[in-house]
Symmetry: C2
Subunit: 578 residues, 2 copies
Amino acid sequence: MTQQKTTTRKSSASRPATFSKQTLRVIPVGGLEEIGRNMTIFEHGNDIVVVDLGLMFPEEEMMGIDYIIPNMEYLEKNKKRIRGVIITHGHFDHIGAIPHVIHRIGNPPIYATELTKAMILKRQEDFKGQGSLNVRTIRKIDRIVLGSFKVEFFHVNHTIPDSIGVVLRTSIGTIVHTGDFKFDHSPVGDAPADISKIARLGSEDILALLSDSTNAQEEGYSISESVIRDNLDQIFLNTRKRLVVATFSSLISRIQQIAELAEKHGRKLAIDGYSMKSNVEIARELGYINARRSTFIDIRQVNDYADSKLVILCPGAQGEGNSTLMKIVNGEHRYTQIHKGDTVIFSSSVIPGNERSVQGLKDTLYMKGAEVIHYKMMGIHASGHGNQEDLKMMINLVRPKYLIPVHGTYYMRKLHGKLGESVGILEKNVFTGVNGQVIEFDYRGNGKLLTEKVPSSYVMVDGLGVGDVGNVVLRDRQMLAKDGMFTIIAIIDRKTKKVVGEPQVTSRGFIYVKENFDLVNAAKKRLKDIVMKSTSKGSNGTEPNWNYIKNSIRDDLGKFLFQKTKRRPIVLPVIIEV
Amino acid sequence: MTQQKTTTRKSSASRPATFSKQTLRVIPVGGLEEIGRNMTIFEHGNDIVVVDLGLMFPEEEMMGIDYIIPNMEYLEKNKKRIRGVIITHGHFDHIGAIPHVIHRIGNPPIYATELTKAMILKRQEDFKGQGSLNVRTIRKIDRIVLGSFKVEFFHVNHTIPDSIGVVLRTSIGTIVHTGDFKFDHSPVGDAPADISKIARLGSEDILALLSDSTNAQEEGYSISESVIRDNLDQIFLNTRKRLVVATFSSLISRIQQIAELAEKHGRKLAIDGYSMKSNVEIARELGYINARRSTFIDIRQVNDYADSKLVILCPGAQGEGNSTLMKIVNGEHRYTQIHKGDTVIFSSSVIPGNERSVQGLKDTLYMKGAEVIHYKMMGIHASGHGNQEDLKMMINLVRPKYLIPVHGTYYMRKLHGKLGESVGILEKNVFTGVNGQVIEFDYRGNGKLLTEKVPSSYVMVDGLGVGDVGNVVLRDRQMLAKDGMFTIIAIIDRKTKKVVGEPQVTSRGFIYVKENFDLVNAAKKRLKDIVMKSTSKGSNGTEPNWNYIKNSIRDDLGKFLFQKTKRRPIVLPVIIEV
């Protein structure tokens, strides 16, 4: 390594209005401390290119939150400089933030391959009021110019076709971003990853590689989709009765396989579930699913065919309460239910946190006389992310000076970094910073992980609100969830300062008020006592301090109710003077 | 098989007051559709013997619930007939319901081995007001008579010493209940399971075997604790800095190993966490932990020793928010925090549902410069339950006519049943019923799974309340958790029926009222409009129907708030006439 003297640029939050072409900055705003909400900013001179705008599904304690998106503060401030947004593939963790943020950053052009574009536009339909998008189709052989960036693409394998990696060339150096990827030498309904093109990059002195860390903990190579297809083929071959296949609606590659196998084995395919159906529609329209029209039947026709001639494909392999599979299992589906002898295939992994509901679903299926085939029993699911050997192969092909593990938690990225070191990347050239932390390359191509951070905190989407649910609302929801609430309302006579009539109690999620008269009456009495004491004490003509009195009531009743029930509802005293 | 004509007894909910000795009934009330809340009733003639009184931890959607216990209705109704409760070992899923229910079933004598007894009495200290227990110590060689049951015990291995299986002899036949078990030929600080005694049972024509199904999905044999000890020994040998070991406080066998290894490697052991400390105290007092007094130091002395001379042992390997480990990691512990170079050992499996928090904890530890050793990386945890080969071995040793898989979900027990069939149990002699379903043996020893069921629904414990939280309160908590609540209060003039002043709004977990004046004002206006319309319409002298008006307000505001926010808070209109 010929490491030269590094000229450090002073980076501060208030950057000057003109930007030096002498630095290239890489800022992963999301996806470094989580799986999801992927977004990386590339800055060269006055130009910004963004790769991916994804969302992440909330953790358990983020109650009522729909999803979490990357923080847009930095891009909003610099929106005039954005030359384009490149989307690597059509999954929600890469496209999901678009409808919520694209207009706040000036609606820049979005570059995406054909299928990815269709997925983006499909999702936008759910956000009609948000204005239209400016999506431009790219082919994998295209070269586009975005300001001072020259951009190329290369084909990679994933669980959805038309996935790409991105090459960003600047005067300072070339950066490669893999997107989500695995190497599959025999994919189903897709070409193998373009290893030749990636290998050619390796002869070019690539400055840095941003690479997918999702499976950095998994040993060996990823499994080929054709292995999965062969295993599914065996199941089709050996099953005499009905087949019900549950998977993610985003696993287009798996859906392809099911359609083709249904056709091969002379079964009709009924698809249900809103997003599953619309994804299949898109994929069929664009030619990514190559089964005859006559193979597909409407879910309403499901009873017109013998069990031995049917496959039902639907979402719900995570045991989600509202999914199509759950409705079928619980007898709440409009057209069908589980038949004795059905074979139910769970063709997806279990997302951490869902194990218990999946177990419950399997139990119910067994009780109803169905057979369950699960990915732990045989190879009927492959991840879309490269395992350790895939990751090493990518590094060896690209031969970058710097490795920047992305898409993963800190631990996964740290492991990915160690893999990089094991194939020759210098330890000091592996950057495993945190979300928002700036990586800067100087004109000599010397990289540095700065202490500078752009805003990268969670932005929560809840209904129509983006970022309006903060920690206070979340904490309230957590408390409400645990022990409910107890509202007590007292009317006070403006003149006498006495409680008029009986205080009213409204409670939810705490106890049955109707079965706990004694407790409720005792609470009312305590309120009256506190009001009486507080108002008679200070009855020197001054107005009572109602805020102080309300706090006393809240404290007193909180303690009283805890002592009587060992529960801590949110106590809300309301005082109204009339 | 010499199957004879079966004389079926008519079983109804209203059983006669005298009971025939001609039948032996086995009723697993809990533990058949879940992991936890284990309890089985054995009935012969007028006598009832209960094995285990356990609890189960709630599922995610059971918000605010502390735990779930078995339904006691049947035992309460028949409490005069209970001759004794036998507890197989000291874990909460076998002893946890005792303080909540024992006095409701007439405080019958509890039979338990020494350590189990100590754990039961320790837990009872947390329920001081509930009266004292009548716990009798049994040794594994004892034979006791409980009514018409003659009862013996045999030693099994588990993750806590002093675990037993139970043999219940009656005039109809002998039933064996394994409790939680595995076979460990080289346990640590414990004797191997008493295979000889179990084998002798096999020569006796055992009627039925109730056996632990928890690990029926796991292939091969369970791992011996001495393998774990050797692996931990290696880690101790290779670690120069501080060791932090996190495990369950109930894994007494693991705690033993840590104490002995600390002593062997010349390290002091600091233990923290309430239940961890009290369990260690009990185990040391009874001689189950054989380390010198000088090995143990108080957590407050933790800074008096060099990092290389220290082990900290605490709970928190599940990433629980309030655990000691979490406090240490987040810098909230009073005496210590994570040091760069610490090795943190997670010596327990991850309970389904906790994967995400454990991942987060590992990330934080790596960011703070600690090394993490996890049970998936090397054998530092063994389950306390027998794998498939252990289960087959148990069946082959006991050679029962009937197999009743217990302790597991339906799916696990079904698999267990298939294992039984693979070693010679007839398919029709495997009973995999559901919770509460009665198994009856007639005087010829012919068993039958009846359709009769005793009450077995979930009983939820929340604070001091047992069974008082029902589905309504739970549903309210789920709604409150998702979108919070919105209380709107209107004072009505009793004479004019007009709203006095402005309605008041109190909201939690929905939006910041202070930042949403427009929405709140619009809601108030809608309320006033509704009241005005409703009261002027019916102003023919009759009293307005306030309940009807409140429902209108609830519906109208619910729709209005959803339209504006796409959130559905619980809307609580309160109308007060003055």
